[in-house]
Subunit: 288 residues, 2 copies
């Protein structure tokens, strides 16, 4: 490994850890500000837990930090950062670029999933990652899942993602938005998971700095726009019927994660900590 | 198709519909008898809905009747009987016996899933089916999912299944019990789904009457033993903590159904009604 390779891994990791710290601080601040329904409850605080990944032979091979908050605005939010390395299983290596001949890999990522108390506040997901085999690439995205259609929230979210993408070429945003719509889709119900956002994978343009900047900008755009949406909606009153609707919509989220999400399957297949993978699951769900 | 073929299809279908009527009547009777927690609520009654299956070309190709009850003992119980026919998709046909050359199929089945109000009453699943391509076979099984380990319930259930299997040869029960333990297993958590029961598939011994008798006997054993278990436990008091534990255990049930259950995948791949397939989902679930 060259000094450049080492430096890039470190910078990607630092970027994700720094974004994690910023998101956790903002989300805790929002908990403190809250004056709407459930204000009598204590404001939430993040709890951090170390997680460990195990290789096929049972040995430890990196791990991460799972930050989870259960609050009065954020019913359950997980912000996971993990940095792992090891060997992909033979079958799996065939499907991963640059791993066919040499199954060793290294990966760092941040993953955020928020399920909210107030049914009028959209749920959200954001994930960015840097993956290294004999090749290296970035992947990631962010998407919004409103429980009730809301044009203002959706268009704010899309505009933020577009601002992150626009410096990277005129087609970038449209391409990643379409990719997101195609990825976050439930074929068995023929319906989208939510309002979309952006999604990209195997990003390796040949200009590492430019690719890294895109990933960083998507994270910063997310850290900017999602708190705006939460603050706008968290005071809005809701009823038991709204809550019921939210819990049913969360069922679709579970169906997507367990049936179709490649990230979940990747985590399970590479032996990552089950609690860290399934922190994405909503805290309460109904299939009435 | 010979008269014998036609007669067998009709008898299998009649058997499943008759079992459905018996189960629904018994479960409604249990609702009426209830004197434990939630007795102030109205006793549940089954509601029947016709479901339709659609072929790849969009045409209707059989259907079924979904019987669902939401009660004070049975929080949500679905008893589906369906009789469908059509053509398997080319990819799927390769994996189904007798369908490689001719993708036409006919199938009749009964499927029962009960999620209970009282955390001390086990959830349960029972399914039997008769499948016809250029070959024909039976499949099915029944398994118990206690939320708290309970030796008495589990051993009653296992004993009933053994009584159904024993007339069919000395190894039958042991073989189907083991098959059940292997099938209802969550690899990602390395844990069994519940206390097990019996499971079998592609049963075609060459003696159709004998095979049909086994399937019928498994259904009758289930209709005998599960109501006994429900009646024994439904009056047992429970706490909020017991309920929480139940909702968390139900999460495992969801994970199994969406990630690993071939029955769910078969239904989705053959275009069956999504509500009928997912009636198996628990009404309320937590991933805290």
């Amino acid at each position: 490994m060259t000094d450049t390779d080492q430096d890039r891994k470190q910078r990607a990791r630092d970027c994700f850890e720094s974004l994690r710290d910023r998101l956790c601080a903002t989300f805790e601040q929002i908990e403190l500000e809250h004056t709407g329904q459930l204000r009598d409850r204590a404001a939430g605080k993040f709890v951090r837990t170390l997680t460990t990944r195990h290789d096929e032979d049972g040995g430890e091979a990196g791990g991460g930090v799972m930050s989870v908050m259960k609050g009065r605005v954020f019913e359950k939010v997980g912000v996971n950062v993990s940095t792992v390395d090891g060997k992909l299983s033979a079958d799996f290596a065939k499907t991963v670029p640059g791993a066919e001949q040499d199954p060793r890999f290294w990966a760092t990522s941040i993953s955020v999933i928020a399920h909210m108390q107030n049914p009028h506040v959209p749920a959200v997901h954001m994930n960015t990652r840097y993956m290294v085999t004999t090749e290296s690439w970035f992947g990631g995205g962010a998407d919004l899942t409103p429980m009730f259609p809301n044009e203002e929230d959706a268009s704010n979210f899309h505009a933020a993602m577009q601002r992150a993408c626009d410096p990277h070429g005129p087609e970038t945003y449209a391409k990643y938005k379409k990719w997101c719509d195609e990825y976050f889709y439930l074929p068995h119900r023929k319906e989208p998971r939510g309002a979309g956002g952006v999604f990209f994978d195997r990003l390796d343009s040949g200009d590492w700095e430019k690719d890294f900047a895109l990933v960083r900008d998507v994270g910063l755009a997310f850290a900017d726009v999602y708190p705006q949406i939460v603050r706008r909606r968290m005071g809005q009153p809701w009823t038991d019927a709204d809550r019921h609707h939210q819990l049913v919509r969360r069922g679709r989220y579970v169906e997507f994660n367990l049936m179709w999400d490649r990230g979940t399957l990747f985590g399970l297949k590479t032996g990552h900590n089950i609690d860290a993978i399934l922190v994405s699951m909503p805290p309460e769900v109904r299939w009435p």
